[in-house]
Symmetry: C2
Subunit: 435 residues, 2 copies
């Protein structure tokens, strides 16, 4: 027997992780296992190991002090480097005292949700959203999510007015909302949100007296025409708007998901103090902090690394887009992140999530490709899939080709759902901003 709370958590193992490990267990190899699994489900940057290896595999200048007890929300030296780095990314002064380092952005999301919400209180999230929000923001905090469905017709762009309506509706129904949470750049839809939209979100949240949690984990993985603008950018933050809490980590931009280093940045002293108390339970290794501290200290290297990573991401994105376009598979054009949001609605046997799940299984079983179904991201409509391309070009090409072959074997449905999806790819305001 275990506690009710633990039983509830264990009952929903994150589906994303399960599919990941299944695909990883028998991976594709062009020669050794040509029929093996191709993992386009996990948003992992596998394009940069050659750049990282020299920095991570060499001798480590650790001192005794690096192995002792240290502030459990991150060593002073690491937070200083992080503050300088994030200050550059967010184009604002970042105080190391506002940073709380924890075990991945996963923990950072748990910490900020637990700090802001008592059990039963709510967080508004535009949907589709990063699927693990359901666990990270909810699992330990006891908060609940209120999804705001975004419109496929507007390419799933986030708008402040829809968030505002959700906040108003929640208040009318007597629900206490503590925050709006969103990923910026987006995931699963890798939009780079325009500063104007961010500003409006800040304003509407401020008007409703709720905080904003912004997951900027992809901040440096922006490769389209529109530059990243942080929620902390002075252009976005203005007098009179409410509290904003940013999370960031090394999993995406630095291709180091295994290191599980995330950071919460909150300018509010009370929130910071509470977050530090929770960080005590999710403290990170001073060993890994030391090596990342030294990586960040080499600013020239970091600038080159991130530029090269973006270049490679752009290439992978362009090839994937080309394959999908050639096959007539619709998708949302974006300028950031590791994944494409692809519309396979025309290939569903019915416009339902059950049919989406069936297609997902067919792709996993028959094509041996792990992509993720939109339902995992709280997609408002069935038929969307997330395909990650931040890996070896040959692997991506093989993976997408397999999916396309599988789809080719089945006729697209000719109903109204397919018609919506077949709008000209990229004929949207967003394309011109980002690509």
């Amino acid at each position: 027997m275990v506690s009710r709370r633990a039983a509830a958590l264990a009952a929903q193992p994150p589906a994303i992780a399960a599919a990941h490990f299944r695909a990883e267990a028998h991976p594709y190899h062009p020669r050794l296992r040509p029929g093996g699994y191709i993992n386009l489900g996990t948003a992992e940057n596998r394009l940069v190991w050659d750049l990282l290896a020299p920095r991570l595999t060499g001798p480590r200048p650790l001192s005794a002090a690096d192995t002792h007890y240290a502030p459990l929300h991150g060593t002073d030296a690491f937070r200083e480097q992080l503050a300088r780095f994030l200050g550059g990314v967010c184009r604002t002064e970042v105080d190391p005292e506002h940073l709380v380092v924890v075990s991945g952005v996963t923990s950072a999301l748990d910490v900020i949700a637990s700090v802001l919400c008592d059990p039963g209180e709510a967080i508004v999230v535009p949907a589709p959203y990063y699927g693990a929000f359901d666990v990270d923001l909810v699992g330990r905090s006891g908060a609940r999510l209120l999804p705001v469905p975004l419109s496929a017709g507007r390419n799933f762009q986030v708008t402040a007015s829809e968030i505002g309506h959700a906040l108003t509706r929640a208040r009318e129904r007597g629900v206490t909302v503590r925050a709006v949470a969103l990923a910026s750049p987006g995931n699963p839809v890798g939009h780079v949100h325009p500063p104007q939209v961010l500003r409006e979100i800040a304003e509407v949240a401020g008007q409703h007296g709720v905080d904003v949690i912004v997951d900027e984990i992809y901040a440096n993985s922006v490769f389209g025409g529109a530059p990243f603008v942080s929620f902390l950018d002075p252009e976005v933050r203005r007098a009179g708007t409410g509290r904003v809490h940013i999370v960031w980590g090394f999993a995406k931009d630095f291709g180091l998901p295994g290191f599980k280093i995330g950071v919460l940045c909150s300018p509010d002293p009370e929130v910071c103090a509470a977050a530090r108390a929770l960080a005590y339970f999710a403290a990170t290794s001073t060993d890994t902090q030391a090596v990342l501290r030294d990586v960040l200290a080499d600013r020239a290297w970091v600038a080159r690394f991130l530029a090269e990573s973006r270049r490679r991401l752009a290439l992978s994105y362009a090839s994937s887009v080309e394959l999908l376009t050639a096959a007539g598979v619709p998708f949302v054009p974006v300028g950031a992140g590791f994944s494409l949001w692809v519309d396979l609605g025309a290939w569903l046997t019915a416009p339902t999530f059950a049919a989406e799940h069936a297609l997902w299984e067919r792709i996993l079983e028959q094509a041996c490709v792990n992509v993720l179904p939109g339902q995992l991201f709280a997609s408002p409509d069935p038929g969307w899939f997330r395909i990650c391309y931040a890996t070896d070009l040959a692997v991506v090409t093989e993976g997408i080709s397999r999916v396309v072959r599988l789809l080719g074997a089945s006729e697209p449905r000719g109903d109204e759902r397919a018609a919506v999806s077949s709008r000209p790819v990229g004929a949207t305001r967003y394309e011109s901003i980002e690509d």
Copy 2:
């Protein structure tokens, strides 16, 4: 504003950590800062860095896979090494699938408490106990502790009958107890619990249908005559006894508290599954897991390292005991751990915890020595202090000498409390077992 839960956690920052960082900020140096702080408050093994440095500062043979997403309760390779190592320590077969690696024993305690207890349910703990149990077992789980006061007259030895009485009393009062928790070897009193006592505890817990949580973080820091016997040892575990969950980590035995690597070992599949779900929020760096995996794989080195660490601990312990004995300061003789449990009751201005706190402050302010007052460890009686000696001999000597000088300046009280304390040091059954 923050959530009620977060406010409660932040309101009690672990006092141990606060005193630690104060003392570390202006440390003693024989030449450069002879009046500086001496930190005998933190149970940190500072005797072994010269042995560790060659293994930790060299090149790291990390592969790309070591940086990718991995099972969030520890990589397979690390858990395999851990299982083999712990199997040797505990003299039993340990299944890597029973291990859940998390961010320090701190997190392991949080995880097991949260898995076993719903909010309001109780854990019975013999007192004095490791002070952070109040945060680790309680802070996020919402469980509460029921201390079982141990008797100074019996040198604070744990007995199964006292635990049994506490369980019976709790039941009579309608309190749901889920577990008994104890450190073995003990902390703050470094007893090596005899197998007979452990067996009786297992039996009494089994009779009452509660689990046992055993914190064996000091398992390899045993230097007295009595060998360590794990709660998992077949000599202790017998048919019919209840569930046992062990926690261990690298902070003490390996002198690596900064690395924050802890592990929960539970043979119960349901507990393990729930613990894995919680470990997701306290995942550890694959980077640090990789280096510790390689350390553990070198079994000959580990055996030499632990033997040398024990030898140095024994020396430091013996010197500290000599200084205290010469000064007529009573203490409990023990055979494990990094600290002495010292009775300064005779130097209190009154037999109260307020007087204990005042003496603690005097030692910190006037002698500039950080030792910890017994109240932090839920000591049943005022006047006890924990003095850590697992650091440079010159530093320990200076620290204890300063305390002794400070005490010498004030007359011991001649009341009944002092009389109890002045029993002949070490004239107990325990000494013969352990030392």
